[in-house]
């Protein structure tokens, strides 16, 4: 087990190093001039040259790569050209809101995806199965940015049942001030026992979470269906049937048990995908997370910010995969041998 963990970790470090090199290369194929952006639209040529020297863009590429790597090792992702703040501190400010959104969405996706997948596998080919399959394909075909706009239109603009944007009603801050601890209003309100704030932050969470959860829920349902149908003819299932367990138990207890391993691997993948999907959703809901930050930095050609977010998400994705691999190997010894 220790050998397996050590090998997986060293592989992950290698991949992360590669990811850093790729983002660096991407940054330096840029035809645009970040120095000019940094200096502002009315800067003189001399000021732009100065900016270039200040940002270190006048040095040869390998030197820049080494200093970039050194900077990352020291936790420095450069300075945002747009906000003029360190990219890492911008990311640290924005990350909790995004993690709150993505983690809640994944929990929701599992809560709905697994039972739907099981229901689909109960009677393959029958109408219920076809409807669930079509629904999961529809979820996978949904442009998230559009779904966000449509749900906002229906539930907040027309029906007025859910708030359109933000993490909570800002007016509440006067009557029920929120102490910042984790950066997630839901958790902070829960810790402080600030019930009105908790209610407000939960209702604000509903629409963005549903949008981010749709695609993962569909994918999980499909995966569960395929996995369960793969194992449903196995000996141990027959055995359980022979012992007189009901169909519900057979599916959700025995067949699902093996499906959890691929499902958890899929959840790690979906974590990365959903982080990126927040880039398309957050600004619609005025959600102050990484997605809004990334979307804003793409429009301002803020290369250090874009690359910082890219790097952050890619590393989070690699680490999520690593964590799932290790947990799986701890549960299932066969995986260690691969």
């Amino acid at each position: 087990m220790l050998v397996f963990v050590a090998r997986r970790i060293s592989l992950a470090i290698l991949v992360i190093a590669g990811v850093i090199v790729v983002t660096f290369v991407v940054a330096h194929v840029v035809p645009g001039d970040p120095a000019a952006t940094w200096a502002g639209p009315h800067a003189t040529a001399a000021q732009i040259t100065q900016a270039r020297r200040f940002l270190g863009l006048n040095r040869p590429l390998p030197v820049q790569l080494v200093s970039y790597l050194g900077g990352i090792a020291a936790g420095n992702l450069g300075t945002s050209i747009h906000t003029h703040r360190p990219v890492l501190s911008d990311i640290a400010t924005a990350a909790p809101a995004t993690l709150e959104l993505v983690i809640t969405a994944l929990l929701l996706a599992i809560t709905f995806g697994v039972p739907l997948g099981l229901a689909s596998a109960r009677r393959p080919g029958r109408p219920a199965d076809q409807v669930i399959r079509a629904g999961s394909i529809l979820a996978a075909s949904m442009p998230v940015f559009w779904m966000a706009l449509i749900l906002q239109l229906i539930f907040s603009q027309r029906l007025h049942v859910l708030p359109a944007a933000g993490q909570y009603s800002p007016g509440l801050l006067f009557t029920h001030p929120l102490l910042k601890r984790t950066g997630s209003p839901v958790i902070d309100a829960l810790i402080a026992g600030n019930w009105p704030m908790l209610g407000s932050s939960l209702t604000h969470l509903i629409l963005p979470v549903v949008v981010v959860a749709a695609f993962p829920a569909g994918l999980i349902a499909r995966l569960v269906r395929a996995q369960v149908l793969d194992t449903i003819g196995d000996m141990h299932i027959l055995n359980a049937r022979a012992l007189g367990f009901g169909e519900r138990q057979i599916f959700s207890r025995f067949a699902m048990k093996q499906a959890w391993i691929p499902v958890s691997a899929e959840v790690a993948l979906l974590f990365g995908y959903s982080l990126v999907n927040t880039f398309l959703v957050e600004s619609t809901f005025d959600w102050p997370g990484l997605g809004s930050y990334a979307a804003a930095s793409t429009t301002t050609l803020d290369t250090p910010a874009i690359l910082g977010v890219t790097l952050f998400v890619a590393i989070a994705y690699v680490l999520a995969n690593l964590a799932v691999d290790i947990v799986q190997a701890a549960i299932d010894p066969r995986i260690r041998l691969r």
Partner: protein, 295 residues
């Protein structure tokens, strides 16, 4: 047994039956295929079908600005008075074409690398696969977004950016296949007979390795269309007069309360197109990969 890609179709009759039965048992595939056909027809005959073909371009109609859907403009008019129906119809010539180009480029890069890695093995295999691992460490939309963000905003950039994020999936897919083909007796026989490596790769490894693409490529069309629309939505792709659905959604965003039709119809077009290709891809997989069909 020696396998040849051109084996006489001994199994032709039963396979035809299997196909027909599979089609009937798979209504999702039929619906998907029908929708894709419909989209293709709309794309080909766009100039005939669009009520106002000129509105796909730079036309402006100051007197119909933001008009709601009516008999004259079934999908309403946009912020400069262009007929949204015409633009949505012409949009069938944008996203699906980008998807096709992206997938051709991704295959052109990914397949040869996968074949070389899988057949030759050794340090070259190791190198190619480690580079592939690094690219696979990015969710595809993330890498495409980072690339598109630093390239000038255009459809060409979007195409390049998505292709750059997509090829590693094919390399990994094909490598496994090529490695298994490389161990088959007929390939070993060729090696013994002194057939050149080049010829072995092109005549034996390549044709026998690319069958999984028949399943994977159709499945990926929907994903590429969604990715391309997302990049255009963020302003990194198509620029104004181009009737790109993602761009139209983004442009309509500032008007969409109360002028909902600016956003609803282009987005619906993206959804429907991606849905059609995903249904088709999913159905094809069930049909061609018997291990996965349970009906």
């Amino acid at each position: 047994m020696i396998e040849s890609p051109l084996a006489p179709s001994r199994a032709a009759v039963p396979r035809g039956q299997v196909l027909r039965r599979g089609l009937l048992a798979n209504p999702l595939l039929l619906v998907g295929g029908g929708l894709v056909l419909l989209i293709a027809i709309v794309a080909i005959f766009a100039p005939l079908l669009a009520p106002l073909p000129g509105d796909a371009g730079t036309a402006t109609h100051p007197f119909t600005v933001l008009q709601p859907p009516s008999a004259a403009h079934l999908f309403g008019a946009d912020q400069v008075g262009r007929d949204i129906l015409s633009r949505v119809i012409y949009g069938t010539r944008v996203s699906p074409v980008i998807a096709a180009v992206v997938l051709v480029i991704a295959c052109a890069i990914g397949v040869p690398l996968g074949v070389v890695a899988g057949y030759l093995g050794g340090w070259l295999d190791e190198l190619i696969m480690r580079v592939t691992d690094v690219f696979l460490a990015f969710p595809p939309l993330l890498l495409a977004l980072a690339l598109a963000a630093v390239l000038p905003a255009s459809l060409t950039s979007v195409t390049i950016a998505i292709a750059a994020a997509w090829w590693p999936w094919y390399t990994r897919l094909i490598r496994g296949q090529a490695a298994s083909v490389a161990g088959r007796p007929h390939v070993e026989a060729c090696q013994v007979l002194g057939v050149s490596r080049f010829r072995i790769i092109f005549r034996h490894i390549l044709p026998n390795s690319i069958t999984p693409l028949l399943v994977q490529v159709p499945l990926d069309v929907g994903g590429v269309i969604l990715t391309a629309s997302a990049l255009s939505f963020l302003g990194l792709g198509a620029q104004d007069p181009v009737p790109d659905w993602g761009l139209m959604t983004a442009e309509g965003q500032s008007y969409f309360t109360p002028d909902w039709w600016l956003v609803v119809f282009p987005g619906l077009a993206i959804l429907l197109t991606a849905f059609a290709f995903n249904l088709l891809g999913d159905g094809l997989r069930d049909l061609l990969d018997p291990r996965r069909s349970f009906t």
